[in-house]
């Protein structure tokens, strides 16, 4: 039995400041039981059903629906040769997609799943009726709806607060450092935009994925019911299994620690083209420099000088971020 992430109960003085400091600050997953139990959506799901609740507010904005043949049993995944997928995708107005997804799929029938649905466009009334006091309100929630499904083990580059509305969801989590043992697939041919772990998404196959065996004991498992929430830091790998005939979840994505408009993943891509095919010894040299200036395991690179001598390595704001970014952009445009 895998270990559970840290688990707390909603209430108990959990306000926005405490959430930012004690839950988000440590950058580790936390289950918050009953965080959204009072949501009208959650109460409706237990009563007349989530379809009855969402249908009146649904718009005709098109959404991308995953449709799986009965034999894949809701495991949306690559086709065997990794050139395509084992399911099809259809664009459909959200209101119509709801009707298809939130009625249970019968025996031997195709299953459907829709993820990352922006409520701002598809269900404009949702956010106000189901508020999230732990966040600043600038992040409109997204909806994840479907029949029983298995969403392949992937990561996101934003902080995530996932709130179950209907059904049960099991999150299987691996820390970011597990990346090398997860047998991660292509970063551009993806099912829903994010690369997935091949080893953690398919049935166990130690012959094919021997390094994955090292992660036994490292995985965390969280079982969420209606009203429960999971805070998941960015870059944490997660496989999501939803079990009920009809499942619904809302989530919020935000960057808790942004210094500006630039995503760290973009700098990774720039480093990839600039560094990744250099000789191993040179890469090791650059690794020392990246550590020194960027990852800073031993603190600030100019800690031995007074702060008024830190120049452009001083605090990023108010000026240094913009000055350095201007230089980078100008260099990229001219080279």
């Amino acid at each position: 039995m895998a270990q559970a992430p840290r688990t707390i109960s909603a209430g108990s003085g959990l306000d926005r400041e405490a959430f930012a400091a004690d839950i988000v600050g440590p950058c580790a997953p936390v289950v918050i039981r009953g965080l959204v139990s009072d949501w009208p959506a959650v109460r409706a799901a237990a009563g007349e059903g989530v379809l009855a609740y969402l249908a009146p507010m649904a718009t005709d904005t098109p959404v991308n629906v995953f449709v799986g043949a009965p034999e894949i049993e809701g495991r949306y995944y690559y086709a065997d040769d990794l050139t395509g997928f084992n399911f099809s995708q259809e664009s459909q107005p959200f209101a119509a997609a709801l009707q298809r997804i939130l009625r249970p799929a019968g025996e031997g029938m195709a299953t459907a799943y829709v993820g990352s649905v922006p409520t701002s466009l598809c269900a404009p009334a949702f956010a106000a009726e189901n508020p999230m006091p732990l966040l600043d309100g600038r992040t409109p929630p997204r909806l994840w709806l479907g029949h029983a499904a298995q969403v392949a083990c992937h990561y996101d580059t934003l902080d995530n607060l996932a709130c179950v509305i209907a059904g049960t969801r099991r999150f299987t989590l691996y820390p970011p450092e597990a990346i090398a043992d997860l047998y991660v697939g292509p970063i551009d041919l993806t099912m829903a935009g994010q690369p997935v772990s091949l080893a953690a998404s398919a049935p166990p196959d130690p012959d094919r994925y021997p390094r994955f065996e090292r992660l036994k004991g490292l995985a965390l498992e969280a079982e969420l019911g209606p009203g429960d929430a999971l805070y998941l830091p960015k870059l944490w790998w997660h496989r999501v299994d939803s079990h009920a005939p009809v499942n619904a979840m809302a989530n919020y994505w935000w960057d808790a620690f942004a210094s500006g408009p630039d995503a760290p993943y973009m700098s990774l891509m720039l480093a990839l083209i600039a560094v990744s095919e250099r000789p191993e010894a040179e890469r090791a040299a650059w690794r020392a420099f990246f550590d020194h200036y960027v990852f800073r395991p031993e603190g600030h690179p100019l800690a031995h000088l007074p702060s008024d001598r830190h120049g452009i390595l001083g605090p990023l704001h108010p000026d240094n971020y913009g000055v350095i970014r201007s230089r980078i952009l100008n260099t990229l445009k001219r080279s």
Binding site: I312, D319, Y321, G322, V323, R325, S326, R327, T331
Partner: protein
Amino acid sequence: MTNIVMLNSRNHRDLKVKAGPSASLGDAQRFAAVIPGEFTQMATVCPLFFSKDAETGAFYCGAMLGFDEGENLFLDGDAYHGHRPLSLQRLPFFTAGPDIAVDLDHPRVGASGGAEVFDAEGKPTAYLESVVGSLRQLHAGQEQGKVLIETLLKHDLIEPVDLDIAFDDGAHHHVRGLYTIARDRLEALADEVVVELFRRGYLLLIHAMLLSQKQLPALIERRNARKLEASAGLRF
């Protein structure tokens, strides 16, 4: 604060005014009013728009000189690149009917290195003569601008334009409250209206205004370049 009084040689014999461009003396404006006579000259270096006067709500023509409050990208220390709009040149003087008024609290007044307004005999100096010329030009131009705007409004040729600009330093600006020529409605004008606008010289002004929008990228680059100067010590 302002302290605007009528100018006369009796009370202002010793008045000295620093006339040159300077950020600290009133030129640090991101948007400055321009008159039709300045359109073609300004349109080759910066975007021209209509804006609404904060007090009266009436449209006026202006040149976009920068983006942040107080950012005039044509001002470099005490040097001005290109034509300095008359609405900036004339400070601290204003027209008051046939007379000239001066804002005695304006930072140009009494600043060191200022020019004399009246000579020892109380006669206007060459500097004041040039100010009178500018004010006369400005006053006539403001009237022409009003008639131009009335004519454009009559033909429904003014429409709002929103600018969303991303700068190299990562800043985003959402500029609201600017207006420009409604191109679609311009193209749909009846022939006789086109001829009328042409004969009155307005077609040239309309096109200068439309073409000036092509200067927006250049203005953005001016700002990017300023930020870039600050990184001169960074080598890679």
